[in-house]
């Protein structure tokens, strides 16, 4: 309805292949970015920033990572939190042990470490698929958390097993307040989302989707299954690793390995199911949904004066029911709903 596409013709492949080919979409995105960069830090309270927006962005990044693996490359993973943990603890150790290492570089190294772990645990994917693979990723989950608890070196011999993330200082500028942290996370997430989108619209992305949709055919036309799957594991784990590092540095501050438990893995899986499997946008929508839902339920429970135990159990039930609901009603999640809505707007007043 709001779209006026007539006259938006493309005279080059570059224009035709851009991420947002429709002018109105580009305007909307720029407006959103402007709000996120300028208005939000000015207007949002520290609580909103640090309890909602920062975790939202970090979870979006983790969900994006999982989506690359599960949504695009079709390999189900239940070990997202493990890769996040690797990212976080690796970054911690790099900063700790290499004096003067820039924080952003440490995050990248943390991500790369996660990528290595991802490749190692992705190896079984060459032989096994489906549930068996899901089980293999569960092994990652248990193994990584076990390592982090059992190897004191990794937590710098902290007696409680808890580490305290070092302050984030980039080029002498300290990211110590919620709004600064928010802007840092926003920048990282925006850049990485862009990179992800680029991969997806290039040959790498097509190779992932080809393997997902029909692996035999993918092999026959020349994609190497091993390389494709491992790359998906590596890239996905890298994203999760960076998200894990941000989770520790920009959100929690002090972290224990148990923060990256199976529950977190499931939460991120839920984000992509609800948000949309195989959609970059879906990762964000899903993260927003899962972050906001407890907040909303809390408000409801509060107003009904329910005891917290009841509220937390209700939350479990609502999560569970929502997952089933989405799988039944809209297996492609919020992103598909968004897409349908957009398509309707583009074709308005026609139904199709």
């Amino acid at each position: 309805m709001l779209y006026r596409e007539a006259g938006q013709f493309k005279t080059s492949y570059q224009a035709d292949g851009q991420i947002f080919p429709i002018l109105q979409d580009r305007i909307a995105l720029l407006a959103m970015l402007a709000v996120a960069v300028v208005a939000v830090p000015l207007l949002a309270s520290p609580y909103v920033l640090s309890a909602i927006l920062i975790p939202f962005l970090i979870f979006s990044l983790a969900a994006l990572g999982l989506n690359i693996l599960t949504g695009y490359a079709g390999q189900l993973s239940l070990g997202t939190a493990a890769f996040m943990a690797v990212g976080a603890f690796a970054s911690y150790n790099f900063i700790l042990r290499i004096p003067g290492l820039p924080v952003l570089l440490a995050f990248v190294l943390g991500g790369l470490s996660a990528a290595l772990v991802g490749i190692a645990f992705g190896l079984p994917s060459l032989r096994i698929r489906g549930f068996y693979l899901a089980a293999a990723t569960l092994a990652t989950q248990f193994f990584v958390v076990w390592c982090l608890t059992k190897i004191p070196y990794l937590t710098n011999y902290s007696t409680s097993g808890v580490i305290t993330a070092q302050p984030i200082v980039i080029l002498g500028y300290a990211f110590d307040t919620p709004d600064r942290k928010y802007l840092l996370v926003l920048a990282v997430v925006a850049v990485m989302a862009l990179l992800a989108k680029n991969m997806i619209r290039s040959n790498v992305g097509r190779s992932w989707m080809a393997v997902r949709d029909m692996d035999v055919a993918a092999e026959v036309i020349g994609f190497r299954l091993m390389r494709t799957k491992l790359l998906a594991f590596a890239v996905s784990s890298f994203y999760c690793g960076v998200a894990g590092a941000l989770y520790a540095y920009a959100y929690l501050g002090t972290v224990e390995p148990e923060a990256y438990n199976l529950d977190l893995s499931f939460r991120i899986l839920f984000m992509i199911i609800i948000g949309g499997v195989g959609s970059v946008l879906g990762s964000f929508l899903g993260a927003a949904f899962i972050v906001l839902l407890p907040v909303l339920l809390n408000v409801v429970a509060h107003s009904l004066a329910l005891p917290t135990s009841v509220a937390s159990n209700l939350e479990l039930m609502v999560f569970g029911a929502l997952i089933i609901f989405f799988l039944i009603v809209e297996p492609h999640g919020l992103a598909r709903l968004w897409q349908i809505g957009k398509e309707k707007l583009r074709l308005w007043p026609f139904p199709h």
């Binding site: 492949y13 991969m199 290039s202 790498v204 097509r206 989707m209 949709d213 993918a218 036309i221």
Partner: protein, 283 residues
Amino acid sequence: MTEDAQMQMNEPEAHFGAVSTDGRRPTGPVILDLKNISLSFGGVRALTDISFDVRQHEIRAIIGPNGAGKSSMLNVINGVYRPQQGQIAYRGEVRKNMDCHAAAKSGIARTFQNIALFKGMTVLDNIMTGRNLKMKSNFLMQALYWGPARREEIAHRIKAEEIIDFLEIQAIRKTPVGRLPYGLQKRVELGRALAAEPEILLLDEPMAGMNVEEKQDMCRFILDVNDQFGTTIVLIEHDMGVVMDISDRVVVLDYGKKIGDGTPDEVRCNQDVINAYLGVACA
């Protein structure tokens, strides 16, 4: 053309020569030579001691009743299955341990009996996947979508567009293939195989399940591919009319054994073939 016109055609005033009706390229030397191929799955024999060859630029058909081992034969050629016995010489070289990736790399492309398109992707993206072996830039460059990676993507897009133009599927280039009718999906799958610019194209029942008009179109495309790009084509097809029309030579399989090989006319009159498959004697 009327009789009248035909007579006039020979008159010297005509500036144009006769319109060549059979403009096909002449077939070249043997490009693919299969010798004594045997293949079995856990004791079940799928192919038994099969030998035949394929010449450059030719259209070679494989026919036979269901379960004759036709698809297995294609799978052997493009490295999906490895025969227990026999050898395959491709372009004069005996292949060893060829897997399907190596086959793709050496210029063998194929389509599948049950369409094996990537359902979640658009027509254009499906065709682009066919060009993956020709893409050189690494994934980091692709992530940045900058410089050589973008130029490469655009260069291949042009190639993909040429195939879209060739197959006359411009109107659906951005449609997800899952939404297309069967006949168009078959065409897109041909497009994906063509995108690899193959030397040999293996087509597994390219016209199965199509109506007459779609079959005609597909025949035209196959002949055009063969002609325009000089692609050698090996195809499995059940429609005898089509096979006899477009193929240069035909191999007939039955229960994993070769029972006939030759030009369509020879095969049509081969008694074994008639008994096993055609059922009708030739006129």
